[in-house]
Symmetry: C2
DNA sequence: CTGAAAGCGCTTACAG
DNA sequence: CTGAAAGCGCTTACAG
C-alpha cells in the first residue's frame, strides 16, 4: 500500500501474481493479454479498488485528460448564485496556486463513489462541497477518509471538518424585523418541506424574528422550490381570514410565485401584501415591483472556503474551523408599510 | 527540447550549466542555492520560458494543486447561460473521460499568457474557448501553437480551427418574421455598438429579416448591455414619429430595460409595443409580461464542442469542423399583433 | 503472451 | 553549495 493508502499498480501486480507491465496491458490493451491473466488482474483490481494514478499516467502518456476553460470575467449585475460562487472560488484559488476541476458522477454512478474515484485517482488535493445537508454522506465519507475538504454548509454542528455557512436564520429574521418595524403583524412564511438544513434554518429565523417582535407565527405554508408552488402558496394564504399582510419566503422562486399570483388576483404587492425573497437571484431586480431579498455574501464565502482549504493543505493537523457569515437583506419595492 | 516543444528542467539545467537538482532547488528552495547560480538558473528559465510540468511535479510531490468541485445537478427552470453551458460541457466531457479545469489570468497577467502558461505547464490537453470575437488573440495564439481547442463562436470564417456557433442572425431574423407576420411594420432594433461578432450577426439578422419582409429598417439604437441602456433606448424610440410598434433586441437586458421603461411611461407592452429579447435568461420568464426571447441550444453546443475536441485529441491531423446551430425563438407574452 | 527495463519530468534526501 | 541517484506510479517498446 502506498500513496496515502491508495493502492498502486505494484500492489495489483503482486496480488495478481504478474508484472506491472502486464497489469497495465490488461487494463489498457487487453488484446495483448491472455483471458486468464486478464481476469486475475481484474479481480485484483476490484479487490483493491485500484484506479491508475492520474499524475503518473499523465506523465507517461503525455495526456492529462483535462480540458481548460477560462471562466469569463464576472460582470456586476444580475448573476446566478452558481456564477457568483464559482467566480469567487476560482479567483481566490488562483491566488493560492490552486485550480478548480469540475466533475459530476458518471451516468449511474453513486454520488459518494464519484468522490472516492477522484481520490483513488489522485486527481485532486481537496474538495469543495456545496449543497450539503444533514448527515451528508459525502461528508461522512470524506471525514472517514481523512481527505481534505471545505464545505459550504454546516450539515450539522461538527468539529470534524471545516465549513463556511451563511446564517440563513439571520436573513429571514432580519426580514421579519424589517416587516414588523413597518407595522406588519400577520407575517406569513413560505418554507420548503422540513429536512433541508438551509431551509430549516431559514424557517427558524422566521420563528425567532416573530418571537422577538412578540408576533404570532400563524401563517405557514410548505412548498417545493418552484414558481407554481409559490403561486399556490399565495392562494392558500389569501384564503385565510384574515390573510397575512406580508410574507417571508425561503427562496426567490417562491417569492416571485407569490408576487405573480398576487398580481393575477388583482392584489397589489407592497400596497396590500409585502413579500421578501431569499438569494437575490437575477429575477429579483427585474420583476415589478423589484423584490426585496436576502443576499448571500458569495465573495466572502469563496474566499473563506479557499482559505480553510489552504490551511489544511499546509498543515494537515490544523484544527478545523467554521465560519458563519451574515447575509444582507437588500431592500427593494416589494415591501411596504402595513396598509 | 522535449514535451511537444516545451522546455524541461533538463534543458534549463544544460543552459545554466548546473544539475537538474540544482535547478529544482533554485526554483523551489532558493535558500539552498548560492545567489550566483540562482540568478543563472532564473535567466535560463526566463530565456526558455520554462514552467515545471504539472504531472511530473504532482507525481514527485504527491500534490496536484487541483481542487475538485462537483458541479451541482442542473435543474430545469430559469438558469443563467453560464450555468447551462458549464453543465452540458461537464457532463458531456465526463462521458469521454475528460474533466474541465477552470482558470483565470492571475492579477495583472495577460489574457493570452494565461493560456500559454497552462500549455507550458502541461496542465491540459486542450481548451474550450467562449466569448470569442473577431481576430481573437487567443485563437491566433492557439492556432500558431498548434494546440488543440474548440471555440464557442466563430470569430471569423476560418478553417484553421474547430468551432461551434449559434446562428444569431437566424435568431433575430426569426424574431422579425414573427413580428411581421403579426402585422408589425415599424420594427426597431436595439443593438450593441458594432465590433462584436455575435452582436453584429444579430443585427445583420434583423436587416435580413426586414429585407425579406419588404420592410424599412429605420429605427436603430446602439446601446451597451445594461438595463439602463435599454431604458434609454425605449425613450429615444418612443420620441420618434412615428414610434415603432415592435422592437427586437440583441439581449434580454436590453429588452427588459425597454419593457421597464415602457411600463414606467404607461405604455403597454405587447398591446402598444412588442418586444423580443435574446438569450432567454432567468429574467425573461419572470418579468411581466413574460418576455419572448431567442434561446441558444446550450446542450447541443456543449456536446458539439466536446465532440470536436475528442476528435482532435484522437487524431491531431483531423481536419477542422465548424458547426452552426440554430437558436429557437421562444414565444411568450411580450409580443402581440399590430395595434 | 509475459517480464524486465527504460523512460516520462520532476523532487528530495544524501554525499561530498 | 552542488551533483548523482533514487523514487514518484505509470506506459511502452523490446526480448524471449
Amino acid at each position: 500500500v502506498s500513496v496515502r493508502g491508495r493502492p498502486t499498480i505494484k500492489e495489483v501486480s503482486k496480488r495478481a501474481g504478474v508484472s506491472v507491465g502486464t497489469v497495465s496491458n490488461a487494463l489498457n490493451t487487453p488484446q495483448l493479454v491472455s483471458e486468464s491473466t486478464r481476469s486475475r488482474v481484474l479481480e485484483a483490481v476490484g479487490e483493491l479498488g485500484y484506479e491508475p494514478n492520474r499524475a503518473a499516467r499523465s506523465l507517461a502518456r503525455r495526456r492529462t485528460h483535462l480540458v481548460g476553460y477560462r471562466l469569463p470575467d464576472y460582470v456586476e449585475g444580475p448573476n446566478s448564485s452558481l456564477d457568483a460562487f464559482l467566480h469567487y472560488l476560482v479567483t481566490t484559488a488562483a491566488g493560492h496556486d490552486l485550480e478548480l476541476v469540475l466533475f459530476t458522477p458518471r451516468k449511474g454512478q453513486d454520488e459518494v463513489d464519484a468522490y472516492h474515484e477522484m481520490i483513488k485517482r489522485g486527481a485532486v488535493d481537496a474538495f469543495i462541497l456545496s449543497d450539503t445537508n444533514y448527515y451528508d454522506p459525502r461528508i461522512e465519507f470524506l471525514v472517514a477518509e481523512g481527505f481534505p475538504f471545505a464545505s459550504f454548509g454546516r450539515a450539522a454542528a461538527d468539529e470534524r471538518f471545516s465549513w463556511v455557512d451563511v446564517n440563513g436564520a439571520a436573513g429571514t429574521s432580519q426580514a421579519v424585523n424589517h416587516l414588523a418595524a413597518n407595522g406588519h403583524q400577520r407575517i406569513a412564511m413560505v418554507a420548503w418541506p422540513t429536512g433541508s438544513e438551509s431551509g430549516d434554518a431559514r424557517y427558524q429565523g422566521y420563528l425567532n424574528g416573530m418571537g422577538r417582535a412578540g408576533l404570532e407565527p400563524s401563517h405557514l405554508i410548505r412548498a417545493h422550490n418552484t414558481l407554481d408552488e409559490g403561486r399556490r402558496a399565495f392562494r392558500e394564504l389569501w384564503d385565510r381570514s384574515p390573510p397575512p399582510s406580508a410574507v417571508v419566503t425561503v427562496a426567490d422562486n417562491l417569492a416571485i410565485g407569490v408576487m405573480l399570483e398576487a398580481a393575477a388576483n388583482g392584489v397589489a404587492v407592497a400596497k396590500e401584501i409585502s413579500v421578501v425573497g431569499f438569494d437575490d437571484t437575477p429575477m429579483a431586480s427585474v420583476i415589478q415591483p423589484p423584490l426585496s431579498s436576502v443576499r448571500q455574501p458569495f465573495e466572502r464565502v469563496g474566499e473563506a472556503l479557499i482559505d480553510l482549504l489552504v490551511g489544511q493543505l499546509e498543515d494537515p493537523n490544523m484544527e478545523h474551523g467554521g465560519i458563519l457569515l451574515d447575509p444582507v437583506l437588500v431592500l427593494r419595492n416589494s415591501t411596504g408599510t402595513y396598509p
